[in-house]
């Protein structure tokens, strides 16, 4: 792991402060909140958690032990709220996400390291129109009623990684992500929506040469979403609509009912990381497969939907650090092909929904640190070319978009004496992409961030405020995003 000092200052106030604290202050740690606050600049802006190594670039748990500076524990609190009508039809008008989290990283021995996090999350979907799922857009099958209500989800989110170095040239690692939440709609039809997500993360890492890492990743995954109706206070029967794409739906009326989606899948990835003093190159090639079976609770269970998704994804990133100049140049690229399709198992000879998607991406970035003022400036430009089709054969609705997305990022940081830093950034996305092509075309997104950090003793506090705004030229509808996050990190 390579650390970049972010604490440079010549200002008097900062100097005085630093002198007072220098005797016992520890170097600041920033992690990904730094890049996030600096406009999400990530191509050339190197960070504690944004390096080109097998853990930061691909989360290979086998490299966790090598990606280790010191143990720490962190408490963080986040609140974020999105609001507005520039959205897809089944997105909530207002989305409020609040969570508290503990996380930490610890070296267990000179060969072992572990990290973990525990979060308790509240997701509040307000003025949710008809939708009865946590994510209505995860496949073409969905449930609705005819009401608008609020759905509140509560639940924990956990993750852990563990690495074991087998030899100087090999390491293995394992980890998992797990989340479970229960959502309740406060209005007729009052469903209970249980979400359960589990993903394993198994990694193997070889280091054939000192500058070359070869990683292998296997990630099995399972998601289960169950919507249960147990009756209401309104003395009404439960009337829901089950959609198979947008054109075919049936109306079901029950006193109680449940519908379960089970998505199973696996992702296999291969990493190659080459690092020298000046040049660092990382590539990941991955293959992902997932299938989703939607079952209604009848006797025998009735399979009413099937969705399958395959993804071939190739990513690369490279950074070059100029000699004697604090300038880092970077390039990135991505080529992704996804092929999703759906059928009604009752009519398995025909495709109901076809959703191929291609992404070709090229990006370039630069990061420059002005010495000795401690001013860091970073900028990225990414050009994404999308080709998306959403063919709903059941509805005779064929949507297709081929467009270029421009993403520009700019981040600035002023850091002083390893004590405090002030950061700001902006990210502009010209044409937000939506796989289902339900978002109004040519929606632009502006994201402004500001924040800073302060360190004393073994403690550091980081904070970030985000203001985002989605706009579209042909409509007055807007959507804004306002959020904040505070981290308290204690180094050990």
């Amino acid at each position: 792991m390579e650390r970049r000092s972010t604490v440079k200052s010549s200002s008097l106030i900062a100097a005085v402060s630093a002198l007072l604290l220098a005797a016992w202050v520890q170097p600041a740690t920033c992690d990904e909140i730094r890049t996030s606050t600096m406009g999400n600049c990530s191509i050339a802006l190197e960070d504690r958690d944004n390096q080109i190594n097998p853990y930061d670039y691909g989360r290979n748990p086998a490299y966790l032990g090598a990606d280790f500076d010191r143990s720490w524990i962190r408490f963080l609190f986040s609140i974020d709220e999105q609001k507005g009508d520039l959205k897809r039809p089944f997105d909530p008008h207002l989305l409020n996400n609040t969570f508290v989290e503990f996380e930490g990283r610890k070296r267990l021995s000179d060969r072992q390291a572990a990290s973990g996090s525990f979060r308790y999350d509240r997701l509040w979907q307000r003025e949710q129109w008809r939708s009865l799922e946590l994510d209505q857009y995860n496949d073409p099958f969905y449930l609705t009623d005819l009401t608008t209500g609020d759905i509140t989800y509560w639940g924990p989110v956990m993750s852990a990684d563990y690495s074991l170095r087998l030899s100087s040239k090999a390491a293995i690692g394992a980890g998992f992500d797990y989340e479970i939440s229960t959502g309740l709609k406060d209005y007729y039809t009052r469903p209970q929506i249980e979400h359960n997500y589990a993903r394993g993360n198994i990694g193997l890492l070889l280091q054939p040469r000192s500058e070359w890492f070869f990683g292998l990743l296997v990630r099995p995954m399972r998601i289960q979403n169950r919507t249960t109706f147990d009756g209401t206070n309104e003395n009404k029967d439960l009337t829901i609509r089950r959609y198979y794409g947008e054109g075919i739906y049936d109306i079901r009326s029950f006193s109680s009912y449940s519908l379960t989606e089970v998505m199973k899948g696996v992702e296999i990835g291969v990493q190659n990381i080459v690092t020298t003093d000046r040049v660092k190159v990382g590539t990941i090639f991955s293959y992902g497969y997932a299938q989703n079976s939607v079952q209604g609770k009848t006797s025998p269970p009735e399979e009413i939907g099937y969705w399958q998704d395959k993804t071939l994804d190739f990513n690369f990133i490279a950074r070059y650090t100029l000699e004697n100049t604090p300038l880092v140049l970077g390039v990135s690229g991505r080529s992704m092909n996804r092929d999703g399709w759906a059928e009604r198992p009752r009519y398995e000879d025909v495709v109901l929904f076809d959703n191929p998607m291609q992404l070709r991406s090229l990006g370039a970035g630069a990061s420059y640190t002005i010495q000795p003022t401690g001013l860091t400036i970073a900028a990225d430009y990414v050009l994404n070319s999308y080709d998306i089709e959403a063919s709903d054969y059941g509805a005779n609705d064929f949507r297709a978009q081929e467009f270029v997305q421009n993403v520009g990022r700019l981040g600035v940081e002023y850091a002083a004496y390893n004590v405090y830093s002030i950061r700001g950034g902006v990210e502009v996305t010209d044409y937000v992409a939506d796989r289902w092509l339900k978002l109004p075309v040519n929606t632009d997104r502006y994201r402004f961030t500001a924040g800073g950090s302060y360190a004393w003793g073994l403690w550091q506090v980081d904070a970030q405020i985000v203001y985002g705004r989605d706009t579209q030229n042909d409509t007055d509808e807007r959507r804004r995003d306002l959020g904040g996050i505070v981290w308290f990190t204690h180094l050990e």
Partner: protein, 371 residues
Amino acid sequence: MKRFFAIVSVVCAGALMASCGLDKPDEADGRSVLVLQAVDTSGVFSEDWTSVANAKVDIASATEAFKGTFTTDETGKIVIEGLPMGEYYIQASMRYEEHDVLLTGQAKKKLKSEAEVKDTLFMSFVPVSPIVINELYYAGCNGSSFYYYDQFVELYNSTGDTLYLDGYVICRSQQSDGIFDIEGEPFALAYYMYQFPGTRGVTRECPIGPHEFLVIACDAVNHHNYGALCVNLLGADWESFNPTQNDYDNLLVPNLLPVSTVGKDFTLSLGHTGIFLATGEEFTFAEYTTSSGVSPFIQVPLRTIVDAVETAENPSPTFRRYLTLRIDAGLGGIGMTKYSGQSIERKVPGFDSNNSSFDFDIGAPTPGYSH
């Protein structure tokens, strides 16, 4: 080398896992084509069968919420394209105003794998019943949970004469495991049977005037007192009353008495029910097995049945009919919710094409009158 093989093995194992899944079908949904030819077999206008131009063709999915109306061309043909796979009820109708003739024809088609399905709709007279079940209210209301005592059946006399219902029976059907194929039987099964007083063709105690409605209440009570959506049935013409049970009796309203020996009153199932009106001239008691054991049923010959309606809230693909297609080709009330305070009523009083999928609309109950 060992390590290399280990890596290759892991990759192969992963690839094997990833290769699971289904092959994507080559054909697309929503491309089915239904070709229909409407043919007049009535012999009214020609001794030969002739094509029916400009006939209205209604098509409704048997399981999904899809309905469409189309018109045949000059040759009596219609090509309906872009249909999703599924099962469909089809009805062709043609009204000749100048002759006051209504021809109808019906079919049920399953579109599964063939790209194009062809069929002929044989159109003829509807053997119009002089009396029809015009409105059926069985959903219950919001008086309380399980409050459905305000159910009623409304009959309509579509003739210009006063008719008499003496001896007629109104019946509720039920699933029986003893009958494998209801389409092969010459009778319908009644589980509940209530009878008008008198003797058919002899007495004249139960009149229904020309183009008038007649309401048979489960309990002739002002149920509106118990819930905003509940129906006031104090004005009912008749009331089903079971004297062997603890059934409410409004002494001001004459009674239909039970012939069947089960049940406490003439109540209808809220989810799936079949009801028919018969002349009562002939029926036979029989026992059949149901899910709850052996139960007494009554076989009613189809030729004595005046009108029949079958309703279902949620017909599934494995749905089993109570009534034969010969007396009701479709299902009414699909999607109507329990305790919603809604009824099904014929689109026009007396309109009866023998297919409840097309004959009825869902709406607020109107006992004794129409919308």
